[in-house]
């Protein structure tokens, strides 16, 4: 009866479950119970292996054509055992050089132990039931899921670790801890939404959101419009196209820090634009965006546009170049004026490019941090604060971790609001095409 539910899947499933428990135990959901539980589960899977073996009636190790691979798993198990032993005092006494990386070994210790157990289990299962002649319902399931494309799986391991280990677990960790009262150090004491209440009662957070909204809306509109217009101008078989493109794009190669500092200097009221206009005779001319609380964000916007519009232009130009030249010819034969061709035919055709560009700009806007730090450090007062800076300051400056976590969770939520409809649209488009 148990064959019906695929004991092999059960086996793989239990190993994954054990792994999940291991991660939870290491990540900080502390209870010792979890750490012991994983080995309990692994023990169950060992029993499963033996049971599968009995059921399949295949204990014949010598004739099993998969034994080479099983040996490979044993070798892997040896390596992880070695790694595990590095964390132990006695080994470190024998090889003093190991002591230097003590922390690394300590971090890897539970994983290495886990890997050893799992690798041995895999080797066993290949010895015992890895043959296609298994009497089980889905012969070779384990073989396929473990050994097939193994190099590829090993090669993709860094990607899997980054995707799951960093992007998923780290994100969940932060979201979880935003509901705690962590201050200097992360704690797991749950205090509900108190951090969010504090966040939304904070003037500084409101200012950050407002600034981000203004900066975001303006830079979205201006960089799209200007970027597209520049691209359209360069697409007229323009002479010196390469020169112009080089000029428009070079700021994109510069860091936000450099950008912010240059514009800080240009907008300096004592030496920059204001002084020059005044020296021309307009004595009462006032132009000091970086020292005026009401317009400081536009000073930052000017720098941001200077840095990024060239990039948008490049994306647009690539989009324009991707349009079938015969469409232009057809429009000319049909006697449609150029501006009308752009608006009624070309721009609708470039919809995917616009959507992608929009998402790229939006993702960039939310991350704005360096520019503000370099240009104004959030001042005057708090008038040019942005959320990313709020997060950083609370995490590393004010030693109020949970507040920083709550703010960064809000940032995540706002990104998801943009990103989810986009993926939906994107996938919808791909399915139709």
């Amino acid at each position: 009866m148990l064959t019906k539910v695929h004991p092999e899947r059960l086996f793989i499933g239990s190993i994954m479950l054990a792994f999940a428990l291991l991660i939870m135990a290491t990540v900080g959901i502390k209870p010792q119970l979890l750490q012991s539980l994983q080995f309990l589960i692994l023990f169950v899977s060992l029993l499963l292996v033996i049971w599968i073996g009995i059921k399949a009636g295949k204990f014949d190790i010598i004739t099993n054509r998969l034994r080479n691979r099983a040996v490979g798993w044993l070798i892997a198990a040896t390596f992880s055992t070695a790694l595990w032993s590095f964390a132990h005092k006695s080994t470190q006494l024998v090889f003093p050089a190991l002591k230097e990386f003590r922390k690394i070994w300590n971090t890897f210790e539970p994983f290495a132990l886990f890997a050893t157990v799992v690798f041995i289990l895999f080797a066993l299962i290949l010895f015992i039931v890895g043959s296609r002649d298994s009497k089980l319902e889905r012969p070779g399931f384990i073989e396929r899921s473990l050994v097939h494309n193994l190099s590829s799986k090993i090669a993709a391991l860094p990607m899997v670790l980054t995707a799951v280990g960093v992007f998923v677990i780290a994100t969940l960790w932060t979201v979880y801890h935003s509901f705690t009262n962590s201050r200097m150090l992360p704690k797991s004491e749950f205090i509900g939404l108190a951090q969010y209440e504090r966040l939304w009662n904070s003037d500084r957070w409101y200012m950050s959101i407002e600034n981000l909204a203004i900066y975001g809306a303006c830079s979205l509109i201006f960089s799209l419009v200007i970027g597209f217009m520049l691209a359209a101008l360069l697409d007229q078989k323009t002479r010196f196209e390469n020169t112009f493109r080089t000029i428009f794009l070079y700021p994109f190669a510069l860091s936000f820090i450099v950008t912010g500092l240059v514009w800080q200097w240009i907008l300096n009221p004592d030496y920059g634009v204001q002084k020059i206009v005044r020296s021309l005779g307009f004595d009462s001319f006032v132009f000091n965006p970086l020292y005026n609380m009401d317009i400081v964000i536009y000073g930052i916007l000017a720098a941001g546009l200077w840095q990024g519009t060239g990039f948008i232009m490049c994306l647009m130009l690539a989009g324009l170049r991707g349009i079938d030249q015969e469409i232009w010819k057809a429009a000319r034969i049909d006697g449609i004026p150029m501006w009308k061709t752009y608006i009624q035919i070309v721009i609708p055709m470039m919809r995917p490019v616009f959507i992608t560009t929009l998402v790229i700009i939006a993702a960039g806007i939310i991350k704005v941090y360096d520019l503000v730090v370099a240009q104004t450090s959030g001042g005057p007062g708090i008038s040019s604060e942005v959320p990313a800076k709020y997060v950083y300051d609370y995490m590393f400056g004010a030693q109020n971790l949970a507040q920083g976590f709550a703010a960064s969770t809000m940032m995540l939520v706002s990104v998801l609001i943009v990103l989810i409809p986009f993926t939906y649209l994107e996938f919808g488009r791909r399915k139709n095409a």
């Binding site: 079938d324 015969e326 469409i327 010819k329 057809a330 000319r332 034969i333 049909d334 006697g335 449609i336 009308k340 009624q344 035919i345 609708p348 055709m349 095409a433």
Partner: protein
């Protein structure tokens, strides 16, 4: 009355001369095909006629009017493109009516023309669909319809069937021919496919390196190619070429190694002196297999090497004194590899080209 006249047309892209002092006259109602290998300038010429490219020198007249400096839309032409170039976000109806709406025509007039065009092309059922939901053949019909609604005298086709599969291509070819017979307006058609050219054209202009080599009706181009290039380009399987020289001793004849082919009946354009090196070209389909009696003026023996049955007829690859020689026979005829066969041809149906200049003699 001439529909299109091209005078001393030249076009250079930088230093590259794409069209070289071209002259061409097309009569009203004529179907002219521009045929040539890629890069010969045929599409460039079409784009010049359409006004999509600025010419370097020369003039273009359409309906006796000098249009050299006119915008494409003012020239009274419609054009169909290889990639169809339909406006993707508009429906078929929108595609057909867009130029008319833009020219501010009355609504009923637009509707009448769209209806008329869609009836002719049998696309009435597709009017509400978008191009993405159409098959390749349907898209090309819509593209033709877009030229049709503009009610113009001249149609330009730029390799319109190249993006279609073989079966659809044959179907649409007939359709275009039918359309021409019905509308009877001038059509210029660019292609690299000789079958399309032969089947559609009233006249074919064979182009090479920016020049028109031969402008004639399909039959003449097939039977009397003006030079070796044209002879090679037209006809499939290709013409056989034997290299030899003229022997004027008794009668005019062609000498290859020690064999003499008498050329009685061949119309020389000029007087040909003795020992002039020449090419003799004869089409595989003009060869007759002699079964005992020698019915043709010229006869010779070949050894069969490879046989390619093609259904209706069979293409035979053979050797004639060490020279490769192809000929076609009826598909039912039994021929064996290694067999020695006696062949014959009529000098009336061959071509003689000068060895150096490769021009017809």
């Amino acid at each position: 009355m001439n529909s299109i006249e091209i005078k001393n047309l030249s076009l250079n892209f930088g230093d590259v001369k794409v069209l070289k002092d071209l002259n061409l006259t097309i009569e009203k109602g004529e179907f002219l095909v521009l045929l040539g290998a890629s890069g010969c300038g045929k599409s460039t010429l079409l784009n010049c006629i359409a006004g999509l490219l600025d010419v370097t020198d020369g003039q273009i007249f359409i309906n006796e009017q000098n249009v050299t400096w006119l915008e494409p839309a003012q020239r009274g032409i419609g054009m169909v493109f290889q990639s169809y170039a339909l406006y993707p976000q508009m429906t078929v109806e929108g595609n057909l009516s867009f130029s008319l709406k833009n020219a501010k025509l009355a609504k009923d007039e637009i509707n009448r023309r769209v209806k008329n065009a869609s009836e002719i092309l049998q696309i009435e059922d597709l009017l509400k669909r978008k191009p993405a939901a159409l098959s390749g053949g349907q898209r090309q019909r819509v593209a033709i319809g877009r030229a049709l609604v503009r009610d113009v005298d001249v149609f330009l086709f730029d390799e319109p069937l190249s993006n279609l599969d073989a079966k659809l291509r044959t179907e649409l070819r007939v359709e275009i021919k039918r359309l021409h017979q019905k509308l009877n307006n001038t059509m210029i058609y660019v292609t690299h496919d000789q079958i399309e050219a032969m089947t559609l054209a009233n006249r074919i202009a064979i182009m090479r390196d920016g020049l028109v080599l031969q402008l004639d009706d399909p039959k003449n181009i097939y039977n009397f190619p003006i030079n070796k290039y044209v002879a090679e380009f037209i006809g499939s399987p290709g013409m056989n070429f034997l290299q030899g020289k003229i022997n004027n001793k008794d009668n005019v004849s062609f000498q290859i190694d020690d064999t003499l082919f008498e050329l009685d009946g061949y119309n020389f354009q000029t007087i040909v002196e003795d020992k002039r090196p020449v090419w003799l070209g004869v089409r595989p389909e003009n060869i007759v297999v002699n079964d005992g009696n020698k019915s043709m003026p010229v006869n010779f023996d070949v050894v069969v090497e490879v046989i390619e049955p093609m259904g209706a007829d069979t293409l035979v690859w053979s050797h004639f004194n060490g020279h490769e020689f192809r000929f076609t026979v009826d598909g039912n005829k039994v021929i064996n590899i290694g067999e020695k066969i006696n062949l014959g041809f009529d000098p009336l149906h061959i071509s003689i080209f000068d060895f150096e200049s490769e021009d017809r003699l």
